[in-house]
Symmetry: D2
Subunit: 297 residues, 4 copies
Amino acid sequence: MVRLGGNQYGKAEIRVVRVARGAAAGGGDVIRDWSVSTSLSGDLADSHLTGDNANVLPTDSQKNRVYALAREMGAVAPEAFALELGSFFVSSQPPITRARVSIEEYGWQPVGGTGYSFARTGDLIRTTTVVRDADLGVSVVSGIKDLVLMNTTASEFWGYPKDPYTTLPETTDRILATAVNASWRFRPSMVAPPGRPADWDGLFAAARTAITETFAQAYSYSLQQMLYALGSAVIKAVPEVCEVRLALPNKHHFIVDLAPFGLENERAVYHADDRPYGLIEGTVLADDAPAAGIAWT
Amino acid sequence: MVRLGGNQYGKAEIRVVRVARGAAAGGGDVIRDWSVSTSLSGDLADSHLTGDNANVLPTDSQKNRVYALAREMGAVAPEAFALELGSFFVSSQPPITRARVSIEEYGWQPVGGTGYSFARTGDLIRTTTVVRDADLGVSVVSGIKDLVLMNTTASEFWGYPKDPYTTLPETTDRILATAVNASWRFRPSMVAPPGRPADWDGLFAAARTAITETFAQAYSYSLQQMLYALGSAVIKAVPEVCEVRLALPNKHHFIVDLAPFGLENERAVYHADDRPYGLIEGTVLADDAPAAGIAWT
Amino acid sequence: MVRLGGNQYGKAEIRVVRVARGAAAGGGDVIRDWSVSTSLSGDLADSHLTGDNANVLPTDSQKNRVYALAREMGAVAPEAFALELGSFFVSSQPPITRARVSIEEYGWQPVGGTGYSFARTGDLIRTTTVVRDADLGVSVVSGIKDLVLMNTTASEFWGYPKDPYTTLPETTDRILATAVNASWRFRPSMVAPPGRPADWDGLFAAARTAITETFAQAYSYSLQQMLYALGSAVIKAVPEVCEVRLALPNKHHFIVDLAPFGLENERAVYHADDRPYGLIEGTVLADDAPAAGIAWT
Amino acid sequence: MVRLGGNQYGKAEIRVVRVARGAAAGGGDVIRDWSVSTSLSGDLADSHLTGDNANVLPTDSQKNRVYALAREMGAVAPEAFALELGSFFVSSQPPITRARVSIEEYGWQPVGGTGYSFARTGDLIRTTTVVRDADLGVSVVSGIKDLVLMNTTASEFWGYPKDPYTTLPETTDRILATAVNASWRFRPSMVAPPGRPADWDGLFAAARTAITETFAQAYSYSLQQMLYALGSAVIKAVPEVCEVRLALPNKHHFIVDLAPFGLENERAVYHADDRPYGLIEGTVLADDAPAAGIAWT
């Protein structure tokens, strides 16, 4: 009467910190501070139906492989790590036909000039998700989480339809603030570049800069318009990217009515509201973007 | 060079509390405590490309409609509310061709016998997501979040493959604990039942009971097996459901090694670990489940 | 030029779960699910000033003692455990003259009738803090965290001063909701009762019931008045308690103005706001309460 | 039988954002992004005992005053704002004899060169708490929250006592990581300096730099030693400070045992653990520090 559908399993949020001693340009340490999550799928029906675990590599073993691989690879870019880890599971476990590896990277900046001292940056989280399928190949989607940006002006919102529940006044000057959550899909050619390893860190830096600079430079009539501008900028700055998906909460800053207290409030005092908030989600693609395939699965 | 792909926008986490005075069986109040999120899609390209907002009903208006509809409908089930709200947006805004409405419901139980006094239950969150598409119809997916269950025994885990990174010892007795995150899709016939409104609250209660009872009764050789048992039980208990999707974190309780202190620890003292954790995801379907269509979009 | 002042150190948030097999009345298991935090003080200046750790029992050893003691004592009340643990550190480590042990207890209720299956309750956190001083004796402060209560009526707020910044309208009917955070100090005689162990679980249940019932029964003109009623009720219900400290956030539920939409909203639809919130803090004491001494340090 | 003890009330977490247009050195905007909490005490017994609110200035009015004062004062330092706000409540409300104002400040850095574009920094939270008492004067305590620092070496831990529960191996090289939570009390002369307003921003920057630099430069035999070094450094760098209180979680980074996989792990791969964690708390005072008085109440 019932049957098993799609399924996957793995270890979530493996908190591995890799220190590469003396590997920085100036002789200091390099740190990679990650939360790694693995997810495997394949011939796993028996475990669900009968409790036969013959095909279920323990999530504990997956965790161990993460630590060991960090030892072997050094403080590499998360994309390089996830590519290697995904291949490992699919190639070493015959019943496993697909591996999904997601990494969150937390930033640290050197302090004090010692080479071994760091402060956590906290301004954003770098992300990557690699999906490796035994038949369909591999995809890399990288991104940013929780990069909070604000323009104190250069944002308008008007010309919208007014239904019987519309009380919002139109505005030609408002604060526009958001937490950028973006992920960008690399072209297949990028994933397996001929002849040399990809400069994943450089590509991330370029995408990040494009987002921040575009947010600052764009004059906005809606957060949707900003979303499209940000996505376009990433593709333009990083031609290796063919698709960008964004989710932008509208972090409302409401002007406070100070008239009851005899004060004007011309663009000066705002209330930063928590909930509810607008949420704008959208996709920007290169005209020649190949189909997404397994990328966002 | 670039183009706009899929997109949607709306208001997230509208915290509406509806009190229906004297509506309870014994004459007390009924409370519905919700976080409502809306998301609309349709002909929204202009807003992204040019900042022309002629088709963009403000998220503030969406919020206002939520409050007004709560006034009109009373303390109804979240499914009934979401169905009505989704239809409203699609039918009243021609450019909008699809509306997605998600609701989290927080539970309260009467205390003190006053009829107006309540304590928040905190044991789980009830959820529903309705997608209404102008062309493709409507779907209802309801569920549970964060129902934390534990069996202190009746769980084994062995017979798994041992790769070079496997150090986990097999066990024939362990604690099995998880936070049930489940969502179940109703059959299309359920969404528009002939002649009478659906008893959404009763269906939720039946699904919830099936999950809790099955978790307690099932002897488990893996969390995957438990997942399949839980999904099957919901479909059996609620024939109006045709598909169940579950995500079950393995909330690891590790037995503590007390041998260094001269103490045996036979199934007595455990460490409840935070991270990493196993994460088991899977789907159970009725054999005759129709295609999911827009349900999980 | 500078000197060391007060200091303490310990291990925070030790997540120990103690299962007492078959210990329940009906033959089922009893669970104690705790987060234990220890904090020691005494002759610790050297560690701060020179890095000489001769007096610094590692926090890791403190953690180990928690697990071992849980093995030894069984699924006892948190107060009994904390009393024993505090005594252990002070009596076994000569440089340590004071130990502070805090425990949060998370509730589980049996489900399914198996005796080994449980669901986490989630409605509140039970707390206790024991301070054991080598010279000054011992104190026990227990309490509740995050018990969320609501009266949908029977609450007024008016008669307050109006300064130039007051715009709040007076009301004779509002929702009153709070998250009860309360801690109650036991009389010294309670801590070392002659002849028999204290029924800590029974005392907790009595205090909890007093809070919930009083919240329901009290008619309130301010949250301050409710605070005093709650504190008084605990002391009345549990004469072993001589002082109660409460912190009550005013979880604002604002009536939504639906007039713009042609709808009256007579006590029906509310917005549950996040921030800012009122915060009312206060103490209620028995007339004959002895000085608090080390209790709240 | 019971009586009212100490009490206070106010509005917590008022999320005010003040934009001073063109006020930056280069002509750009200055932002102050705050969470302000007020707490008043005085002759408030009636509200608790009878519900007579004649002395209870609504927390809503307190909130309004925050917004209005932000308009009046501009994007000033949080210390200056809190001093003014505290004085306002005590001077304008006769029953109120003490006001406590706490502010958390979130950092933003200019991006894009527009003068109105900013990115949230996220590396730490700046704090201040001002207590104004009608009789006892005023105190200012400022600080830092959640500044996460790490040394990948230059940290040892050994020479500690070994009790029967000690299994921790001694180490002469470990990662030392913490989240600095520090608050420093200013000397009374600082609070009301003769003739000119204090440079609160400059003092904060000096304290912050002292903490980061000292953390990097100090060789540590215990986190206690680091705590004392950090506190001393603040007092040395900012002579206006007479007392520093610190709470330093030991963010454990455990070396992973890779021997089962045939790999050595010489200071390379670590597991960043969540809980439990060591927690080191302590105070450092200038030799001539006056009594704390109302500062930490």
